[in-house]
């Protein structure tokens, strides 16, 4: 039994790969569609989120994208649908405005060209550094989160010439989604909550040294002889005010202290920006330089706000908060230290406390990003756009499967015609299908823990073999180390990757023909043993494998990764070939060709 360990190894790896590709749970059933994007105009905006699974619409089951497109094409009036197992009802006046994709059936990360979607590549103008690029990515990411586009992927790419690009991918269709996101100005505002207490329906808004009388009459209030309704805005001493509401004898206002251009510098040096451990968690802080005008507005607004004592921290705060808005959406809220009231500070410090270091660092970055959102550090130019409709992509998958089946038939026919032996031709088909499964299985496994363990096991096995003085050739150890390393790289199965699978299978079949040929040579049977023949076959195979890998390495870095899928799949395929499948095929041929 142990004699055939190479064949057993192949079977084990194939089963593992099948599990990696296909093992999935379906919490909401196998039929349905996944929400890619909810348009601004949609009645479901705000309730439905991208990523949710829609299983039925008006009592009818939804099977796939085509079904959804058909059923929603002329849909008007009241609509009830089930998303993530919950019922939602809307009134559709124009269109439902929800883009969907098919539910993932496998763990494969399918490329945009196969599942449909939009990809835009942006090139920053001017001098980009890795720091500005990560700032831009973080700003765009924050914006995407604010607008509920959680499925949008941002990636910074650096090409061999040293130029930076930012790649944005969204599952939904339409360049307007992404362009909309980029064209948003990211208008930043910091507003301070200002309470005014009433006595006999009269109160005073204190701004620095000045006071403004307020008269309240039920809902409406009067400031400066101007009648103001709740949520209405007005201006006092050049400061934008908004009257929010009245609770009992207290009026709540919101006054704008800073706008985007008031934030002049966000310091990142270690003296002014850090995360430090404290007794039961981590304190983060950073200093911001604000404009003189902003600082004096802050001082004016905070004058006269009562202070409260916080028992938890033992510190004094204003009975207020500073609220951070981006494009009129509330994104964060901070408390104001009591000592700041009425003071002009151009370098206020923002700080917070989180139980773990990671959370503190994350929160610090997120706040810095919000403050920066006023403007991207560099102008972005659209360098390329790809839009693929979901049905086109799924059509490509179908035809790829057809051509693979036909190719298998052609290959087996060719090999059978040449050798007239089923025992030579049949294993080639078996090995080729195994290779496809293994390559896809490696692509489907993205868990770094799994790959780390594979790497450790491989290194252990090589060390063991070396210690036992078995000869381990260079290909075994490079393959055993490179495959886990390539596996960790996230790598999508797109059309070039499918081309790569086919190319790798092609070299695989070629190698197997060489093995079969060497093994079946009649003339040399007396001169060389089977072992020597197989060894000579492997000299050719290893040589060919090295040249394929050498030719593919530059391709990994070209065209900002557009054909990276082809290169990685081919390299992985060739390595899997020399490491697992060719030895197994050689064993099969050895076993079936008894001398």
């Amino acid at each position: 039994m142990l004699k055939y360990w190479r064949i057993w190894l192949l079977i084990v790896v194939v089963l593992g790969a099948m599990l990696a590709i296909g093992f999935k749970t379906y919490p909401y059933g196998r039929t349905g569609v996944q929400i890619a994007f909810v348009y601004d105009s949609s009645p479901a905006r705000g309730t439905l989120q991208s990523g949710m699974i829609i299983t039925d619409l008006n009592g009818q089951q939804i099977t796939d994208v085509n079904d959804w497109t058909g059923k929603t094409a002329n849909l008007k009036g009241p609509v009830t649908l089930t998303a993530n197992g919950r019922q939602y009802s809307f009134n559709v006046s124009d269109s439902i405005g929800v883009d969907v994709t098919n539910i993932d059936r496998t763990n494969l990360d399918l490329g945009l060209d196969l599942k449909g979607g939009t990809r835009i590549v942006l090139k920053p103008e001017g001098n980009a550094t890795s720091e500005t690029i990560s700032q831009i990515v973080s700003i765009l990411q924050t914006r995407a989160n604010i607008y509920g586009l959680k499925e949008m992927k941002f990636l910074s790419v650096r090409d061999p010439g040293g130029d930076y690009y930012i790649q944005v991918e969204a599952a939904g269709i339409g360049r307007d989604i992404i362009e909309n996101l980029l064209s948003r100005q990211g208008k930043f505002e910091a507003k301070i909550v200002k309470p005014v207490d009433l006595e006999n329906n009269r109160g005073t808004i204190r701004l620095g040294g000045e006071s403004f009388g307020v008269v309240a009459d039920n809902e409406t209030i009067t400031v400066n002889n101007q009648a103001i309704m709740p949520n209405q805005t007005f201006v006092l001493k050049n400061i934008d005010f908004q009257y929010l509401n009245r609770t009992g004898s207290r009026l709540i206002f919101q006054a704008t202290a800073y706008k985007g251009d008031d934030i002049e510098i966000i310091y990142t040096d270690p003296q002014r920006s850090a995360v430090v451990p404290q007794s039961n968690g981590y304190l983060f802080y950073f200093v911001v330089l604000v404009s003189q005008e902003g600082a004096s507005r802050f001082s004016d607004i905070t004058t006269g706000i009562p202070k409260i004592f916080d028992i938890n921290s033992g510190e004094e705060y204003l009975d207020s908060a500073i609220r951070l808005f981006i494009d009129d959406q509330l994104v964060s809220e901070l408390r104001i230290s009591g000592s700041l009231a009425g003071q002009i500070y151009t370098t206020p410090q923002i700080q917070g406390f989180r139980p773990t270091f990671e959370e503190a660092a994350q929160e610090k970055l997120s706040l810095q990003t919000i403050l920066r959102s006023g403007a991207l550090p560099l102008t972005l130019q659209t360098a390329s756009i790809d839009i693929i409709s979901p049905t086109l992509g799924s059509g490509f998958i179908t035809t790829a499967v057809y051509s693979a089946v036909l190719a298998m038939i052609v290959i087996s026919a060719m090999v059978f015609i040449r050798y007239r032996k089923i025992r030579v031709a049949l294993p080639i088909i078996f090995i080729s299908i195994s290779e496809i499964i293994i390559i896809l299985g490696i692509a489907a496994t993205n868990d770094s823990l799994i790959w780390a363990s594979v790497l450790v096991i491989n290194i252990f096995l090589i060390a063991l073999a070396w210690w036992k003085q078995k000869d381990v050739d260079i290909y075994v150890w490079t393959g055993a180390i490179l495959i886990p390393l390539l596996g960790i790289m996230s790598w999508t199965i797109d059309l070039p990757a499918i081309g790569g699978v086919i190319a790798a299978i092609g070299t695989g079949v070629n190698d197997q023909i060489i093995i079969a040929d060497e093994a079946l040579q009649i003339r040399e049977r007396k001169i060389y043993t089977m072992k020597e023949k197989i060894k000579r076959a492997f000299f050719i195979i290893f040589g060919a494998a090295s040249t394929v890998i050498a030719a593919m390495v530059p391709l990994m870095f070209l065209g900002i990764g557009l054909v990276r899928g082809f290169a990685i799949t081919t390299i992985v395929g060739v390595l899997v070939g020399v490491l697992i499948t060719r030895p197994a095929y050689a064993k099969i041929i050895e076993a079936t060709t008894k001398e």
């Binding site: 090139k123 839009i387 051509s403 060719m414 040929d517 009649i522 090295s546 070209l558 065209g559």
Partner: protein, 293 residues
């Protein structure tokens, strides 16, 4: 069949007139050079590049009926300026490819195609700015050069003798050169996927070359017989690959896979010549000079 009988039936293969055979690749070399130079004289480019390598917009539309491409082209050109409309046909349906400048708005073109009375079942749009296209083009040339140099180094490491290594490298260079030239004849524009296929062709090319060289230098029997034996194996390999690629070309509707398959297909056909004539003849000549017969 008895083994000895099979042995006796093997044709005598001396490979004597190899020097005359070398004329064939040389003629193809001249034709290829002619095609490339002609292209350069007429357009200023050695060969046609897809929008990925020069910038532009490519719209791929799948429809349910055949399309009158020239009428559509005239109609669209009136509104959007210079553009070309091509037909792609596959088992999965009818399709058209529209190529325009990167300045146009693809949504408007698709709308116009619909107005023309064509059912747009599904579509894809690829727009590459001219600057990015130019960058990709430089990278593509560099990538091809680097891959070729890497391949050369590996071949030298494998054989460690000058002439056989040079013969393998020359055969690979011919493969790429001839393929690029005949892509012009078949009106195939080089894209990034095509570049990937060209690099893969290096791998396929060297595959059979290594087989030939190893068997010839390390085998038993007459050199002609060794080459003949290697050729039987090598041709099986190449024809199997050609069959599989043809299957892919018949079925696929994807421009990416079509490009990969057709580039490899052209390359493998030339590889038959360059392995079994160019490389084999140079090798035989080398072995005769060295007295290995």
């Amino acid at each position: 069949m008895d083994e000895k009988e099979a042995e006796a039936k093997k044709p005598r293969f001396e490979f004597k007139n190899y020097k005359i055979l070398l004329v064939i690749p040389l003629i193809v070399l001249l034709i290829s050079a002619g095609i490339l130079v002609n292209g350069y004289m007429q357009t200023g480019d050695w060969f046609k590049r897809s929008i990925e390598l020069k910038g532009g917009t490519l719209i791929n539309i799948e429809s349910d009926k055949p399309v009158d491409t020239s009428a559509l082209e005239n109609s669209l050109a009136g509104k959007f300026g210079l553009l070309t409309v091509r037909e792609i046909r596959s088992f999965s349906g009818y399709g058209i490819l529209i190529e325009a400048s990167s300045e146009v708005n693809a949504n408007n073109i698709i709308q116009e195609v619909k107005n023309f009375g064509i059912t747009v079942q599904s579509f894809s749009v690829q727009t590459i700015g001219p600057a990015l296209g130019a960058t990709f083009w430089i990278q593509a040339q560099l990538g091809l050069a680097v891959a070729f140099i890497f391949m050369g180094i590996i071949v030298f490491v494998i054989f460690r003798t000058l002439v056989p290594s040079l013969a393998v490298i020359l055969a690979a260079a011919f493969d790429i050169l001839f393929t690029l030239a005949f892509m012009q004849v078949f009106d195939i524009e080089l894209s990034l996927a095509g570049l990937a296929a060209l690099l893969m062709l290096i791998g396929y090319s060297v595959d059979t070359d290594i087989l030939l060289t190893t068997r010839s230098l390390k085998g038993t029997g007459m050199v002609g017989q060794r080459i003949y034996g290697a050729m039987k194996t090598g041709l099986t390999m190449t024809f199997t690959a050609i069959g599989a690629l043809a299957a892919m070309l018949i079925f696929t509707a994807s421009p990416v896979l079509t490009q990969i398959a057709s580039v490899l297909l052209i390359g493998l056909v030339f590889d038959i010549m360059n392995t079994w004539i160019t490389n084999a003849a140079l090798l035989k000549w080398y072995m005769e000079r060295k007295g290995i017969v």
